[in-house]
């Protein structure tokens, strides 16, 4: 079997904040196999964005040196803060409105990335970019090169950013909820575009979202994140059809296909500076017992190529918890 394109192993990131240390990520392990779209799902504050920033080497300056490893094409890219992989990992940001500098032509901003990370002359870059604009279905690709960001609509800007992510011909694209800032129709178009482009170009993608609907329509595999740890992983279909971790089960019971929202689960997401001991979900978990507060559960393989970080995942949830 081919080694995965991206492999994150036991990654831990700590940020100082409000006088305390916040464990944003702890012991995160996940893989993105070549040619696959892997989803990372979780609610705000679960560490999704920090995970992306660690991969892209743009953790905040005050972050402590992360522990663990991020292997891209077999090399650990964590120590050099990703200096070597820029351009080889494409990035689609969350907010297309805020992610382009308003004072520079959008085309020039992308060409600057290509100048640094892609082979060829500026003329070749321009030609390739026009091709990409056509591929992401921007109207009038030639003219788009000379336009400023404010002259595009939100959906068009996200297409621009997808083109930018593909501009240096990466093998991996990481995307940070690229559709949340857009309206529903545009969302669907952009998702379709992403699916089509990754398939056609044989790309791998790490796709972060809080939306199970998006997850189901796009991703082959999924990793569920809770409070900076992986709760469970597996093929998307299997996880969505028969979630194993109590957290995933309760989430899906509340909102079978809508945005993840903990409104139906008692308690609140713990602040990153005061994580509970043991299993971080135990204060809110109906299956919790005394040992859960002591022992940190590890990801254990279960049938179907899945893994779950709960020793009691086989037990049924009490009816009450699902109300």
């Amino acid at each position: 079997m081919m080694p995965p394109l991206l492999e994150i192993s036991q990654l831990a990131v700590t940020l100082p904040g409000g006088g305390a240390l916040a464990e944003i990520l702890d012991d995160v392990t996940l893989k993105v196999p070549a040619g696959c779209i892997t989803g990372v799902v979780g609610e705000s504050g679960c560490g999704k964005s920090t995970l992306l920033r660690a991969i892209l080497g743009i953790l905040p300056r005050h972050a402590q040196t992360p522990r663990g490893g991020i292997f891209f094409e077999g090399h650990d890219i964590l120590p050099d803060r990703a200096a070597g992989v820029r351009g080889r990992i494409g990035f689609v940001p969350q907010d297309p409105y805020l992610s382009l500098n308003p004072l520079f032509r959008a085309g020039d901003q992308i060409l600057e990335i290509m100048r640094r990370h892609a082979k060829g002359s500026r003329a070749e870059h321009k030609a390739r970019l026009v091709e990409l604009f056509r591929a992401v279905q921007l109207p009038d690709p030639e003219a788009a090169l000379r336009k400023y960001p404010h002259e595009f609509s939100g959906g068009q800007r996200q297409r621009l950013l997808i083109a930018a992510a593909l501009s240096c011909e990466p093998r991996l694209v990481v995307a940070d909820e690229p559709t949340t800032a857009l309206d529903v129709t545009t969302q669907r178009e952009i998702l379709g575009l992403l699916r089509e482009l990754t398939r056609a170009r044989g790309l791998s993608m790490l796709f972060v979202t809080h939306d199970f609907g998006v997850l189901a329509s796009l991703c082959d595999d999924v990793a569920v994140l809770y409070a900076g740890r992986v709760a469970e992983t597996g093929p998307t279909r299997a996880v969505l059809d028969a979630p194993a971790h109590p957290y995933t089960r309760m989430l899906l019971a509340c909102h079978p296909d809508r945005a993840a929202d903990l409104a139906g689960i008692p308690g609140a997401v713990p602040p990153a500076t005061a994580q509970p001991s043991g299993c971080r979900f135990h204060p809110r978990c109906p299956l919790a017992r005394e040992s859960c507060a002591r022992e940190v559960p590890v990801l254990q393989p279960i049938p179907g190529g899945r893994a779950v970080a709960c020793p009691f995942h086989a037990e049924a949830l009490p009816e009450l918890a699902l109300v």
Binding site: I58, P93, D95, L98, N101, P102, R116, Y148, L161
Partner: protein, 337 residues
Amino acid sequence: MLLYILRRIALALPALFGLVVLTFILSRVVPGDPAATLAGDAATPAQIADIRARYGLDRPLLEQALVHVRQVVSGDLGNSLFSGRPVSLEIMQRLPATLELTFVALVFATILGVALGLVAALDHNGPIDHLVRIVSVGGLAIASFWLAIMLQLQFSMEWNILPLRGRIDVIYGMPHRVTGFLLIDTLLAGRPDMFLDALRHMVLPAITLALPGLATIARFTRSGVLEALQKDYVLYARAAGYGRFRLAAIYVLRNAITVTVTQIGLLFGALISGAVAIEAVFDWPGLGTYAVQAILSADYKALLAVTLVVGVVYAVVNVLVDVAQALIDPRVAQRAR
């Protein structure tokens, strides 16, 4: 874009017109009879009446105001009460000296100020940052005329390495006047030696004049860069692999500088004000010394004309600043539409 510039000019006109009216009002609320002031203490009533008739001071106020406005618009600012020559002529002779000094100071302040502000922001809360903050607060607290004198004391009197006063050494005389800017005219005359001498004369006045501007620019650039660094597009650019230098010096700075440019417009007023005192210290034959001379000789015609000319220059600078804004930020002109 052209439309935007025209709009900006149109917006500046009412205030300038108001200024013309204001100068007229000012010239009429002078305590006492202007004709008597003009004629001097020893004048006879007949002389005063003669002056009153000659300057049209016996006509109704409104008519005088209209005459005044018409004269000003046609470029006639009246005759100096001191020399008797047309004020507009005298001002045109001296304006280049002031503009040259102000311009050199502004360029110096901008280049150094932007650089300092950028370095300070990139070294946020570090030693360079603190140093720049101290300089930027201190630079605004120093009285320009005093700094000028202190620099003269040290560099011209004590060490004797820079000239004490004037624009150029008397042994050279003035070069053939083409633009009125000595740094240009000396080169046009093919005299690099004179150019260097003019440059040496420029050093102390320009530094003195530039200091408050430098302080302001450094300060606004610093906060602008700090703010821009927080933006999503900077994070995105870093993730997408922009180079560190390019990110700081071009990508972020351009955003930060929009704030700075506005400040440069406001600064110009401070520069002109500073120039008055600094010209007095360095015997710089510009508008400032002219104004001081006008004060000493109670030449209110000249003084009001200077006020008016400075107002026009000020308005032009502010239009230029707005145009620069629009060039830096493509959204400005669009928003104004």
